[in-house]
Amino acid sequence: MTEILMPRLSDTMEEGVISSWQKKPGDPVAVGDVLVDIETDKAVMEYEAYEAGVLGEILVGEGETAAIGAPIAIVLPAGSEVPAQAAARPEEQSAGQAKEEVAVAAPAPAASAPSDPAPAPASGPAAPAPAPLNGTPRGTRPPSSPLARRLARDHGIDLATLTGTGPGGRIVRADIEAAVRAGGAAAPPQAQPAQPQPAQAAEPKAAPAAPAQAAGVDDADVERVPLNRFRKVAARRLTESKRNAPHFYLTREVDAEELLAFRATLNKALDPAKVSVNDLIVKACATALREHPAVNVSFTEDELLVHKRVNVGVAVAVEDGLLVPVIRDADRKSVSQIGAETRELAGKARAGRLSAQEMSGGTFSVSNLGMYGIASFSAVINPPEAAILAVGAVRDEPVVRDGQVVPGKRLSVTLSVDHRACDGATGAAFLARLAELLERPLLIVA
C-alpha cells in the first residue's frame, strides 16, 4: 500500500485542488498513467503514477483542497480487491463533493416501548458512519457535512483546524458555530437563511453574538464574488513585490519606423509564419540582457543571484487573471522560434494547461498593452526578477529627422527596476541598448 501525496508542482504552491481524478478506485495503475489533474495556484497539471498497482481509495475528492504532502489517494499492490464502498462516484455527479457515506435508513421500526430509545432493529442496516479504508490518514480532510463546509467557507474557517463531534468525527454545523463563538471567524458571516438556534440561555458558556457585520456585506448593490486561486496568489505576490521591491521607473521613446519595416520584411520572407512586434521586443530584451548581465539578476536578503541564462517571461492575460509563461534561453532562439513558442504558451495559458515548469525560472519579463492602445504604463515587477519592461502601442506621431518634422512611428517602453538589485545607471544603460536594438532591428538578429 502506498499513499499518493499532494505533490509540490510550483515554487509558490502551498496547497492543491483536485481538479479531476482520471482513475477510479479499483482501476489498475501503470507507471506513467495520469492519476489525477491537480489545480495549483497557477495551472491545472496532470500528475502521473510513479509505481504500478491498483487505485485503492481516493482520500481527497474532486474540488477538495489538500496541503502539499497530504495523502490524496492510496495505491494498493497489483491484483488487490477494492471494497465496493470505495467505489468512485458516478461521473454525472458534480465535482466539489467529498466522499460522503451512504445514508442508510432505519428500515424497520423499533419495536419497543416509547420510553425506550431503542436503536434501529437488526433486520436492516443501521446508520453507520463507516471509517474510511485503512483509517483516516493524518493530514487528510476531515469528514464534514455539506452545510458545515458551506458555513466554514462563509466564516473563513479552515476545517482542518476543527474537531468534528458528529458520527465518525464528522464536522457538523454545531462545530462551526462553536468555532465562530470561540472567535475562529476570520471574516464576518455572509447573510444566510435564518436558522434559529435552540435556546442557549441555560448553557453554561454564554454565547456572544456573531461578530459585527462589515459595512456593505449585505448591500444589495454589491455582488460578492469569491476569489479564485489565481487571484489570491497574484494578490499576494503583487503586494509582496510592491511592498518589498523599491520600484523605480525608466521610460524611453523609441523610433519604431525601422522595427515595423523590418517586421514586414521578415513576415514576407517567413510567410505563412508571422512574427509580432512583441516577438522582436522579447528577442531584443534577451540580447540586451546577455550584454547587460547586471539586470539579469535576482535580489535575496543575503546575496544577489546572477542568472547565467536569459529566460524572458511574457505576460498573458487570461480570463481569470494574468499568467507569465517563460521563453527559456530567449537570447539563443530565433525570433520566429520565440513567436511560435509564445503563441503556444499563451494558448496553453488561456486553456489553464500551463505547467509550473513553463511558468518558472524567468529572469526578466515583458508586459505589452499596446494592443489596447495604451501609450505607456509602468508594470509591477514579477518577483524574484529584478526588472520588467512595459511596452505601449506604436503611435503615429510627427518626429524631427535631419531638422525636418516628418511623420514617424513611436513606441514608448518603461522599465520597472528593483532598486535593491540594480541602480538607475545600470537600468538606464540596459534600456539605452534596448532602444538601440529596437531602432536598428538588424542588430537584434545579428
Binding site: 424497520a108 455539506p146 458520527p167
Partner: protein
Amino acid sequence: MALVTYRQALRDTLRAEMLRDENVFLMGEEIGLFEGSYKITEGLLKEFGPRRVRDTPIAEEGFVGAAIGAAMLGLRPVVEIMTINFSLLALDQIVNHAAKIYGMFGGQCSVPMVIRTPGGGGQQLGATHSQNVELFYSFIPGLKVVAPSTPAEASAMLKAAIRDDDPVLFLENLALYNTKGELPAGTSSDAGAAVAGGSGGSSTQMLIDSIEPAEIGRAAVTRPGTDITIIGYSRMAQVAAEVAETLAGEGISAEVVDLRSLRPLDRETIVESVRRTGCAVVAEDDWLTYGIGAEIAATIQEGAFDWLDAPVRRVAMAEVPLPYAKPLELAALPSADSLLTAVRATLRSTGRLAALETTRS
C-alpha cells in the same frame, strides 16, 4: 369550525360534485346497494339512482376500462377500487390507456377520470390486502397521484381531482377513514351549495360545499419548525404531525411537510424547508428500497446539498410481505416510535440533540 371524519368529508364531497355537474358519476364494487365497503358512498344510490351510482362486477380491468371510455366521451367517472391492491388487476388499463391516451393521440382526447382507492396496512387483512403501491402510479407520466391526509384536504383535493382533465389516482388510507379534522368555515360560491339540506344532505354539507378545490401538485408545510424537517404523506403525514407534537414537548422544533401530491411532486417546498432546517427524515408507508422516500431523498440532495448537516434518513415498512399476526404487523409498519427514533438519531448526529439535552438537564 366543525369536526368531520375523513370518510364523511369524502362522501359529502362526492355528493356536492354530483350535484354540481351531472357528468360526474360513480362506479365500483359494492358502492350502491351496500353503500361501499368503507361506507364512503352512503346514501348516494338512494339520492342519485343507479344511472349515476353503478355497482360493477368483480372485474377491475373491465370497469376501469369502461370508465376510461366514458371519460373519453365527456363524462367524469369517479371509480372506487375497493383497495389499491385490487388496482393491480387494472394496471394495464390505468398505465397503458388512461395515462397514455391524451399524449399518444396528440391531445385530441383527454381522460378526465378519478380512481379513488384506499391503501394501508394495520387492519389484519394479510399481505395481499395491506399494501401501499401508490409508487406504481406515481412513477407514470400522464397520471396524477394525490394523497390527502386530513378531511379538509381530502375534500379540497377530491374536488380538484374530479374537475381535472387528466386521470387522477386519489389515494385514501384505511387508517385515516375514521380520523376527524376541522373544516374551514367559508362562504360558498359553489353551485352545488344551493341544494344542501336535501335528502342526502348532512350538517357538514354546507361547509364541504364552500371548500375551494386544492391545487394539485402542491405540498404544504403543515407545521413550521426550525430544527429538522419531517416529510410524509397520507397516514405518515399524520404520524409526522403527532411526532412533531411529541418533540415540541422536548423542546425540539420539527417542521412537517405534507406532500399531498405524489405526481406532480412539489420539490420546491421540500427543498426550501430543508434549506431552513438543515436536516430531514422522510416517513413513508411503503417499502424503503426504491420507495417514494428515495425520490424525496434524491430531491433533497440535489436541491439542498449545501444546506445538509446530516444524511437524509427514511423510515419505511419492513421489507417483508406484511404479516397477519397483530404483533408482527405492528412491528413491520412504520410508527410514531420508529419515526421518533430516526429523528432523534438525525438530530444527535448534528449535535443539536445534545445541545438540547444539556439545556434541559
